[in-house]
Point group: C2
């Protein structure tokens, strides 16, 4: 669903591809790493480290976002944020994003303007620019974002380096997006704190390189849910992970919202995706940097447990499943 | 339209996202620049030059390709080729691609397998790998590819460097894809040479860096049509371009096909897009490297002419227009 009727409104068909590209790119401020911005066959970005980190995410209308739940501005912010979180989770600093956008010819230009404003807003938070992209006609709106990053001399922090004895820690919010989704699903629009967290997550970009500098052994972006994503670290590192609920802070706001909806706030924290917090493992408690919170331990074995037991309903999101 | 009925066939819904990603990536050979391939939050690619060239293209089913006209394998080849041509047009060598794929849950797995095989085939032609991507559920199939490249110390060749007195030259085929499209549009499936050229272009990747090494002043990937794309160079460089038809070679095969369809083969060569030839300007005839053919001249002024006159119907493709 579109946020507005297209009656009498200027649409993308009225403006055309080149007109739209102009609206999206003109007068925008590129980041320092952008050596050649939009307008040519390809862009050029500084990769001072001699390596470039790259990740792509695809967001589909009706699957990843709904314009009746999120204004275009916040969809744009989210589209960039989910990608930059992947760059941060490698221990890298974002340097640029490219955006592929397919949308119906009837899409109001105002939707694209707001979507684009949201994308530039979030890119600006990371001090980078949208360096290029492509637009095409499609029945369904599909936003594909590719983010690039620089490791600044660090080793990339993969999912595969966790060792028995390591401490598991997280940076950023957990459960807030799930709480917002639950609120929206019941037809409410507030409290705005949780609804806003669902509409446009604010991943802690700086926490990724910070963790890498402090010796993190493994790291992941929490997109599918804490337990599901720790499961990815467990499989890649061939270890077991136990999360301790006494270490997990459930914010009073989540408790209040859960009470109002008859839900379990701890379940949101353990399984809710899309907050794009970062989870990492550190060799000892003293290595955990400020802004990170210890929540569990790495042991020999396999699987993810909560207080030593299997947690029901821990599986993360999979498309077509 | 799908190439097959989905009756009784395994679909992407049966296999699930993670199963599909495994099928697409497992056992594939990465290129030398791939330092960390698929499976983590992001991939890592060598950027020896200290800069990275990046470009994104979006292909939509029913707009850029039709499975009843092109088998999935050739759609996959085309999706990669159009992007690598953009990298070559900057004077860079491709180093990696990322693929975002949105498709319906009813898509047969065999379609994805063939699409993926075509993508790997074309990536292999450029000695690179698919380093990452994302998959999602969507009513319309949308393929978004991002290509990365390395300048190997060269200055990027933009559209903006052409000077009056320069010679215009091209490398690669012109008009073949348009001829193939015309054949398919009439319901024919042969001759296979032109139909194949439409289904899966074979851009001359090496010609891009070669032109840069020989002093090309401006370069572009011919995706919209020769005259339209030379127009982009004209605008960016603030020059006029004249194409001389006596220098333009129209292959006998195109003449034969045009005669059979009652079409003008020269029109295909001048305005047909999607062959992904490269067009460049060189400071003098002696600078034009082997494999490139002089086709015109750069002069003061603006606009693109053919034998000194305006050419009717020279406008290129624009989405939503």
């Amino acid at each position: 669903m579109r946020p507005d009727s297209t009656q009498g409104q200027e649409t993308v068909a009225d403006v055309g591809e080149f007109g739209l590209i102009r609206r999206i790119t003109e007068g925008r401020k590129q980041g320092i790493p952008t050596l050649l911005g939009p307008g040519d066959d390809a862009a050029v970005v500084a990769a001072v480290d001699g390596r470039v980190v790259a990740s792509t995410d695809v967001l589909v209308e009706g699957v990843h976002f709904r314009f009746d739940w999120s204004p275009p501005d916040q969809v744009g912010r989210k589209a960039i944020a989910v990608n930059l979180a992947d760059i941060a989770a490698m221990g890298a600093v974002p340097t640029a994003v490219l955006v592929g956008l397919a949308c119906p010819s009837t899409t109001p230009v105002s939707v694209i303007d707001e979507l684009s404003a949201g994308m530039w807003h979030e890119a600006g938070r990371a001090r980078i620019g949208i360096i290029g992209g492509d637009m095409a006609n499609s029945d369904t709106m599909v936003i594909s974002v590719t983010a690039l990053g620089d490791l600044e001399g660090r080793m990339p922090i993969t999912r595969g380096g966790a060792m028995p004895g390591d401490i598991v820690a997280v940076a950023g919010r957990l459960g807030w997006s799930a709480a917002g989704l639950a609120v929206l699903g019941r037809g409410f629009r507030s409290p705005v704190t949780v609804v806003g967290a669902h509409r446009a997550p604010e991943p802690p970009y700086a926490a990724g390189p910070q963790a890498a500098d402090c010796g993190a052994t493994a790291m992941i972006d929490v997109s599918d849910g804490l337990l599901a994503d720790l499961g990815h670290i467990g499989v890649a590192s061939n270890v077991a992970i136990d999360v301790r609920t006494d270490l997990i802070e459930v914010h009073q706001r989540l408790i209040d919202v859960a009470q109002a909806l008859g839900a379990d706030p701890r379940h949101w924290v353990l399984t809710g995706g899309e907050d794009h917090a970062l989870a990492a493992t550190f060799p000892d408690p003293g290595a955990i940097p400020e802004g990170w919170r210890a929540i569990g331990t790495v042991t020999r074995g396999s699987g993810v447990t909560v207080d030593g037991s299997t947690y029901e309903g821990a599986a993360g999101w999979q498309h077509w499943r």
